[in-house]
């Protein structure tokens, strides 16, 4: 999911062509397209309607209160006026007022919003106050009074009245948006070079807000048409000028309802509702364009859900909890496997049946007490892998192949992908917990720290008394070095380091066998980072859990891991004992990675780095994904996806590397 969002973000940042494509995609959605068609239809009617009208809308005739017929498609009024003609004329007035009021109030919103957001300070305070006052004032009663004071006000008067009350919301949204844009680099740069304020606003800020302005504009059109209808219905507009609201006014005044003349009031209301729906649907499209998370909501959800149910097996009783064996120090020769991941494949399902593999054919084992480090650039699939192990991946991600086997302390094997919902809940946290990257985002802002630890305990140990649970929470906080009196603190009241410690306390709550740590120290400064890592290692030695540590910080990883796995383009390219890896990385990518990081200890070496950028997973290069950037690549590399080759190391252990230079049958003769 995270990776998918990044992809989307990249897509919309990639430039005008990509964003135009996003627009087209939004237009292609059936609901949005329906909205656009409805809107265009009414716009056309508003323009040419009066010429199409078969009668003069005010002309009286003998056919009083006649039901719809061939002569009068929508029937007639009490005075025999043709309602169809009134509807056609009314479309123009209603649309004119709607669009006119939207133009004026959007102009006001943009003016106030941009100025307030850009100028800041006292001007912002004042403008925001005025906007907020107008936002809270109930609009309709105010418009009623204003309209009442403008006797027989025509369309322009009504536009004026609606605009006065309608601009505040847009101004507020645009102000917030401008504030955040103002701090962006490109605006700062323009200010630093001394460009004129008006130029910066017009050139740098305004174009970035077009989507929001459009949404606000369409929303105001709907609002203005509804308000105009309301005012006209109350008789506060010129009742001799035909609009949809005026038709309803005359219907109400003439008791059309009591006489059963449904054709008199049904068409006008339907037209307003239909137009409003059309505009709202267009706005949803814009919303989804602005907010990628909404766009994601529907895609692939059903398919991914089906995938899970297919895997479901017969329900099994919750196994009795076994006592944990005492912590044994990990040795490199250990064969006590706790977690096996076999040929795991995670796909992101796309919109038109496409799928993007984020994790591909990944196999590794984790042994009891081991620290397994997973390294890779962003987008290498390492976080997706972490989530997939606990089945926390969200649609559109789906596990399409592979197996995950967990071995309980009592020796029983658990097929993680085969667990049903309840079994999965029991498995999570009890056996395997996760420490997330950003504690600020991973802690619930409205719950106290203590409660966020306690609820995990409560869910898994329902028989534990409240007193014991409270004791356990305090114990956990002390374990990670947080004062017990912080138990009632909210996340925002803690410092960054404290929050990360609290996360670890949550992770330890049930004394799990495995803790997955997804970049647990990335957001912290170096000193705090070191404290946290030392705390983790200390706790590991004390409590004896196994760790899967994910990071792009290779020097840190080499220092604390027993085994290192390097991922590239969703695949494992190297798997080695940390010592072997540091001394002699075997995959060209690992060599490049090691050369681009300074180590905290050990001999100094020259930093080189890797030219090029990570592969596009939607359209990966053929063969080995690394070959476009690889200094050792040869012809076969762009044709064959290399398997992992088992290689002897100087220490007598083995290292696996996925590179064709180790394939004697391919590389000999063609390489180097």
């Amino acid at each position: 999911m995270v990776a998918a969002i990044n992809m989307e973000a990249q897509a919309s940042e990639a430039g005008p062509r990509a964003s135009r494509r996003a627009w087209l995609r939004a237009l292609g959605r059936p609901l949005t397209a329906t909205g656009v068609i409805i809107t265009i239809f009414f716009a056309v009617v508003a323009i040419i309607g009066p010429w199409l009208a078969p009668y003069d809308p005010s002309a009286v005739s003998d056919a009083a209160t006649a039901a719809p017929s061939a002569a009068h498609w929508l029937g007639t009024t009490q005075n025999g006026q043709d309602i169809f003609s009134q509807m056609l004329y009314g479309a123009r007035v209603s649309m004119f007022v709607g669009v006119g009021a939207a133009v004026v109030s959007t102009f006001l919103s943009v003016l106030v919003g941009l100025l307030a957001g850009y100028l800041g300070g006292a001007a912002d305070e004042l403008l925001s106050l005025v906007a907020n006052v107008f936002l809270v004032l109930p609009a309709l009663p105010l418009t009623i009074i204003l309209a009442a004071y403008l006797p027989n006000s025509g369309s322009l008067g009504i536009i004026f009245v609606i605009s006065i009350t309608g601009w505040a919301w847009g101004a507020r949204v645009l102000r917030a948006q401008t504030l955040s844009l103002r701090r962006r680099d490109f605006v700062e740069a323009a200010r630093a070079t001394g460009d004129r304020t008006s130029l910066i606003i017009l050139r740098d800020i305004l174009p970035n807000q077009i989507a929001i302005i459009a949404a606000s504009f369409l929303g105001t059109v709907t609002g203005a048409i509804l308000t105009q209808a309301g005012l006209a219905f109350l008789g506060l507009t010129d009742v001799t000028q035909w609009s949809w609201g005026t038709i309803l006014y005359w219907a109400q005044v003439s008791s059309a309802l009591l006489t059963g003349a449904w054709w008199w009031f049904v068409p006008a209301g339907l037209a307003i509702a239909l137009l409003g729906t059309g505009l709202s649907l267009v706005n949803f499209g814009i919303d989804e364009f602005i907010n990628p998370r909404l766009r994601q909501a529907g895609i692939g959800t059903r398919k991914a859900a089906r995938g899970i149910t297919k895997r479901r097996r017969a329900t099994r009783r919750r196994p009795p909890r076994v006592s944990r064996p005492a912590a044994v120090p990990f040795t490199p020769d250990s064969t006590d496997v706790i977690l096996e991941v076999q040929n795991l494949k995670v796909d992101y399902l796309g919109e038109y049946g496409s799928s993007t593999p984020a994790v591909n054919d990944v196999t590794f084992t984790l042994r009891r007490g081991e620290v397994l480090g997973i390294a890779g650039e962003s987008g290498s699939g390492k976080s997706t892998l972490a989530y997939a192990i606990t089945r926390l991946h969200k649609p559109p991600a789906t596990i399409s192949a592979g197996q995950i086997l967990y071995t309980r302390p009592d020796g029983a094997k658990v097929d993680v992908l085969g667990l049903n919902e309840q079994e999965l809940r029991d498995f999570r946290w009890e056996e395997l917990s996760i420490v997330f990257q950003s504690a600020m985002n991973a802690l619930n802002p409205v719950l106290r720290i203590g409660e966020q630890i306690a609820d995990a305990i409560k869910a898994h140990r329902p028989q534990m008394t409240e007193v014991d649970r409270a004791k356990r929470v305090i114990e956990l906080l002390q374990l990670v070095g947080i004062q017990p009196d912080r138990v009632r603190a909210y996340p925002h009241e803690l410092s960054g380091g404290m929050r990360q410690r609290a996360m670890i306390a949550i992770g330890l709550a049930l004394d799990p066998e495995i803790i997955v740590m997804d970049e647990p120290t990335t957001a912290l400064d170096v000193v705090i980072q070191r404290q946290i890592v030392e705390k983790i290692m200390e706790l590991k030695d004390k409590l004896g859990f196994s760790v899967i540590f994910i990071t792009h910080d290779l020097s840190l990883l080499i220092e604390l891991s027993d085994t290192i796995v390097v991922m590239y383009g969703g695949r494992i390219v190297e798997r080695a004992a940390a010592q072997d890896f540091y001394r002699d990385p075997r995959h060209p990518y690992s060599r490049g990675l090691l050369a681009s990081f300074p180590t905290l200890s050990g001999p100094r070496r020259e930093l080189t780095g890797i030219p090029g950028s990570p592969p596009n997973l939607r359209n990966p290069p053929p063969g080995c994904a690394f070959h476009p950037r690889c200094p050792l690549a040869f012809a076969a590399c762009s044709e064959v996806v290399p398997p992992l080759y088992q290689l002897e190391t100087a220490t007598g252990r083995t290292t696996d590397a996925a590179c064709l230079i180790y394939d004697t049958s391919v590389s000999e003769g063609t390489s180097r």
Partner: protein
Amino acid sequence: MKSLLRRAFFYLVTAWAAISLNFLIPRIMPGDPAEHLINQFHGRLSPSAVTAMRALFGQSDKSLWQQYLDYWHNVFTGDFGLSYAYYPATVSEVLRTSMWWTLVLITLCTVIAFVLGTGLGVLAGWKRGTWLDSLVPVTTFVSSIPYFWFAIIVVLLFAMTLKWFPISGGYSWDATIGLNWPFISSALYYAVLPAFTIIAASVGGWLIGMRNMMVTTLSEDYVRLAEAKGLPPRRVVFTYAARNAMLPSLSGFAMSLGFVVGGSIVTEVVFNYPGIGTVLFKAAQAADYPLMSAIFLFITVMVLIANLLADVAYTFLDPRTREA
């Protein structure tokens, strides 16, 4: 606490702005509405009523500042002058008899619609990708319908065709207003259709807003952590996702409330409900400016109080606002 005080101060400023606006509007509007109105009564107005009417439009010997002070005095003593639509009743009397109908109806309907819409929105956001997604276009359509037109259709269906409920009014003619069962039961019976209209028309806005917030919140890390912890789904949905998703919904209450109240007022006209909306309609028909102004002020104050209550609820739900 401090943030609440700041909000309360803001509402005081808003109330001051509304009242001053009310004072200013008649004075800056073009034309001579006073003369026009007085002529309409063809000399049936008492001389003091004519003076009051002129004063209302600023046609007075006093300075503008003195007029403004007098105006404030009148606001605080509840003296809004005579109603011309309900002549010779005073504006205060008219307000007093009609306000309870509107207050009870709109308060109940807003609370029910908010709870119902938010609840359905939580469900639709949580079960996204299922049939519940079809609620979105349906509720969009319903919330695009003008309230008063929806009311007309409701009357046509349930009162005229099916005859399940009365067509108009607030209570049966043979009941006497007071705390007696015949009156209360008949008031409830008469309120069903107006209430249904307002709830049905406003529930969609809450639903869509909440659904979108749920979808956004569900991809937050803290919700994923809650799932990783193996918490029961109920706790994940309510304590982690919905609890956070609700906050923007509550702070958007201000704008929505004004909209709902406005819509409900016009709805009353269709049902000829004895509340403020119907009175406002009659006042507008008769160009009864004093009554209209007083109704505007009344509604504004009520909306401000409702907003303040929403702010209190927000502070209660979001610890981050409590300390500042």
